[in-house]
Amino acid sequence: MEPLETKLTLSDIPNGKSAVITEVIAEDGMRRRLQDLGFIVGNNVDSLNTAAIGDLTAYRINGTVIAIRKDDTDNILVEEINV
């Protein structure tokens, strides 16, 4: 297995950029919650803005805005979309 570090996670996507989800590693409850909100393989997310202090970041997915801490976006694998 290749080390996780080489994989791009949602946390790596800078504000203002978009990405397409390739895998959700989060488990159990959070996995379900993320899926319900639209974090499923193949869907697009836009990284909007990060809190002034800390790492909570707002993402646009399916037309709504959801804020998630870095600990959790680390568990969402993505590919960046270059426009």
Partner: protein, 714 residues
């Protein structure tokens, strides 16, 4: 940490009991994602006044109301918002249990027209349950503003249930909604099935027959089969409660599941794949359908929202704006409350002697008059004149910010601090609710998924000084820190007053965080858990309606509670101060007894008595203190700011007393309403007791420390 923190599962175990007025009453459940306007629809139809607010998680329990349509009677149940029937938190469980097992005649799924794709997920899940349903596409006015168009007819055709477009806040489309509900009742339930990938359909087909044999027609057998496969453990518990037996323990079901496991093994599939497959299929299908139903996507429809977000949350402006808003709210409250307070006091106290004279003249015995007028009436008059004006100004302003959608942005800004204390970012929301009323803040903690983090929010909620405590803070600050400065114009003094209140709030936030951290390191050990915070679109509040509603619904209610508490307190004080004990009165003996404790904390026995008798409602703490001072001094009531100051100073208050009272006001036991709410929410005496002790001990320690430090320097 597991769910064991709470006895059994949670408060929501106390099931809603539907109160039918007659057998034929139809029960309608209002389901939907958070913040889509369910409570607004509910209020419009039933004429009730459920709180609404522009943030996900406003409603946390099932509430019922009645309406009549076309000679039929309906019971409508407002349900907490949920993203999915797979529940993750206490409020979602309440929603799920009612929708799935509450046997509603029709489920109305309310959707947000501006976010249809995500909303359809829940719609499809509800349709899968095989219940009669109506889809209500709400917020059509917002969609129009954003240039989004939805083909409701196509939706109706595809989903097979009535679909209605509404703008509930402006009462548009509600007749059609009622008609659709009626229509749905008289038609067969929707036959809407999602086709899953073959390896999942295989499991469903294996289970469906034995399930059908066991549950009969009480539940849709295809749906139950799917639920047996999607790995939702929490659901199984509710299913067992509903059926009265454990479905998965049945031999035929066990056999089917074993067969399916065998099948999965042979086909190189895992259980996790099946679970994911089910959830993802529904989401994907929603996206697909949304694409078909939405005929015009508003381009850049949220550009304004994102600009506002940048301003309200960015490094340079986020925190300053938060502080300025806090300041402005307090400044308006203090300035606006000043004049009406004096007016009300003059009026009510002016009446006191007249009432007494009048009562005596019609032959009411002197003792009774004395008790009722100089006891009960007097304290009540204090409560009304001191409490009503600031409350009537503060509540509407708070509600306006809430309706605008500002509260989730506060949570966004403050998340880092809560995370550092191993707490949930949503605790900022419950903290904000606490400034209105701590009991509301405690119930609101249901939006926090993790039981540990929810307890942190409940125990520390009392550090947010509630609306009932603001007037104490305002009076003390005005008298001792602003009144003392000579040559200050009245406008300048309200500015300083508001600034001081902002400082008190910052202090209360620091205490909330500090105590959360200490609890996280001791009795509530754990690491911060995952959560998602939705930032809803900003919506322009209906200013006039908000003002009227918050005055009538909230202010009057809270004031009523305070008066109910004030009257007996007035009676007790009157009795205590009129029954002699040795050389003095009982009241004097009692306050004397408490005096050493009070002194150690920079206060006195009277102040402590005020806090103790104020247990039923913080609103009466200050009036009680004033009444006792007056009773002991024997003087008559002269009411004006300066006179109140003189009274306190004559009784030995200094700036040190004032600071101690401020500290103790922020930190002492929760009021009895809040304690009862905590017991109800945690189902545990232990945590209720903790919620009593933690702020009380904090208050004692901090005021004691403050006084020790002052003593060193003075």
């Amino acid at each position: 940490m597991s769910r064991k923190l709470f006895h059994k599962s949670s408060a929501v175990d106390q099931k809603l009991i539907i109160e039918k007025k007659s057998e034929d009453d139809k029960v309608i459940a209002l389901a939907g994602n958070p913040n889509v306007g369910k409570s607004t629809v509910f209020n419009a139809l039933t004429g009730m006044r459920q709180h609404t607010g522009n943030w996900p998680g406003k409603t946390v329990e099932n509430v019922q109301g009645y309406y009549e349509y076309d000679d039929d009677n309906y019971i409508m149940v407002d349900v907490p918002g949920s993203y999915s029937l797979i529940a993750r938190s206490a409020e979602e469980e309440a929603a799920r249990d009612f929708i799935c097992f509450g046997e509603p005649d029709v489920v109305v799924v309310v959707c947000d027209a501006t976010g249809l794709a995500r909303n359809l997920n829940l719609v499809l899940q509800v349709l899968e349950t095989g219940k009669k349903a109506v889809v209500c596409v709400n917020l059509c006015d917002e969609a129009k503003k954003r240039n989004i168009k939805i083909d409701l007819e196509a939706m109706e055709k595809e989903l097979g249930v009535p679909v209605v477009g509404t703008a509930a806040r402006s009462k548009i489309g509600l007749d059609e909604l009622q008609a659709a509900i009626k229509k749905a009742i008289h038609s067969e339930p929707a036959q809407f099935d999602i086709t899953y990938p073959d390896y999942i359909e295989k499991g469903i087909s294996l289970l469906k027959e034995p399930v059908q044999a066991l549950v009969g027609d009480s539940l849709d057998s295809r749906w139950v089969s799917i639920k047996l496969l999607d790995g939702d453990d929490n659901f199984q518990k509710s299913l067992t409660d509903f059926l009265g037996f454990e479905l998965i323990k049945d031999k035929s079901i066990k056999l089917a599941l074993e067969k399916y496991e065998q099948y999965l093994k042979e086909n190189d599939r895992t259980v996790v794949e099946v679970q994911d497959g089910i959830v993802e299929m529904v989401v994907q299908y929603s996206l697909l359908l949304a694409d078909r139903f939405i005929t015009q996507h508003g381009k850049e429809s949220d550009a304004t929202d994102r600009k506002l977000d940048k301003i309200l949350t960015s490094k340079a402006t986020g925190f300053p704006i938060m502080l300025i808003l806090l300041f402005v709210v307090f400044w308006i409250t203090i300035t606006g409350a000043n004049y009406p307070s004096t007016l009300l006091a003059n009026l009510l106290f002016g009446l006191e002697e007249k009432l007494a004279a009048g009562a005596l003249s019609i032959g009411v015995p002197f003792l009774v008059v004395d008790i009722l007028i100089h006891g009960v009436y007097n304290v009540t008059a204090w409560v009304v004149s001191v409490m009503l004006p600031p409350m009537a100004i503060f509540f509407p302003m708070f509600t306006l910010l809430e309706d605008l959608g500002y509260l989730p942005r506060v949570a966004f800004n403050l998340d880092h601090f809560f995370k550092s204390c191993d707490a949930c970012g949503k605790q900022a929301l419950t903290m904000c609710m606490g400034y209105g009323c701590n009991a509301v803040g405690v119930t609101g903690a249901r939006i926090i998924d993790s039981p540990r983090e929810r307890l942190l929010a409940i125990i520390t909620n009392n550090f947010s000084p509630c609306n009932g405590r603001f007037p104490i803070l305002i009076s003390v600050i005005t008298i001792f820190f602003i009144g003392g400065i000579s040559g200050l114009s009245s406008s300048m003094s309200s500015v300083l007053g508001a600034l001081s209140l902002v400082l008190v709030i910052i202090f209360s936030i620091v205490m909330t965080l500090l105590v959360s951290k200490i609890l996280s390191m001791t009795v509530l050990k754990g690491v911060p858990s995952s959560f998602t915070l939705e930032l809803p679109p900003y919506r322009k509040p209906q200013i006039g309606r908000v003002i009227v509603r918050s005055i009538f619904d909230r202010t009057i209610k809270v004031l009523g509670r305070a008066i109910v508490a004030a009257a007996p307190a007035g009676l007790i004080i009157w009795v205590l101060s009129n029954v002699s004990y040795g050389d003095s009165t009982l009241l004097y003996a009692f306050t004397n007894l408490l005096d050493p404790f009070g002194r150690a904390l920079g206060m006195d026995g009277v102040i402590l008595t005020g806090f103790i008798l104020g247990l039923p409602a913080n609103e009466i703490v200050m009036p009680i203190m004033i009444m006792i001072y007056l009773a002991q001094g024997g003087g008559l009531i002269e009411l004006e700011g300066a006179a109140l100051g003189n009274l306190l100073i004559a009784n030995g208050w200094t700036w040190v007393t004032a600071v101690s009272v401020l500290l103790f006001t922020v930190m002492h036991w929760p009021c009895s309403t809040t304690l009862i709410t905590i017991k109800k929410e945690t189902q545990s005496w232990k945590w209720t007791f903790m919620s009593f002790l933690v702020p009380t001990i904090s208050g004692i320690i901090i005021t004691f420390l403050f006084n020790s430090i002052v003593n060193v320097f003075i």
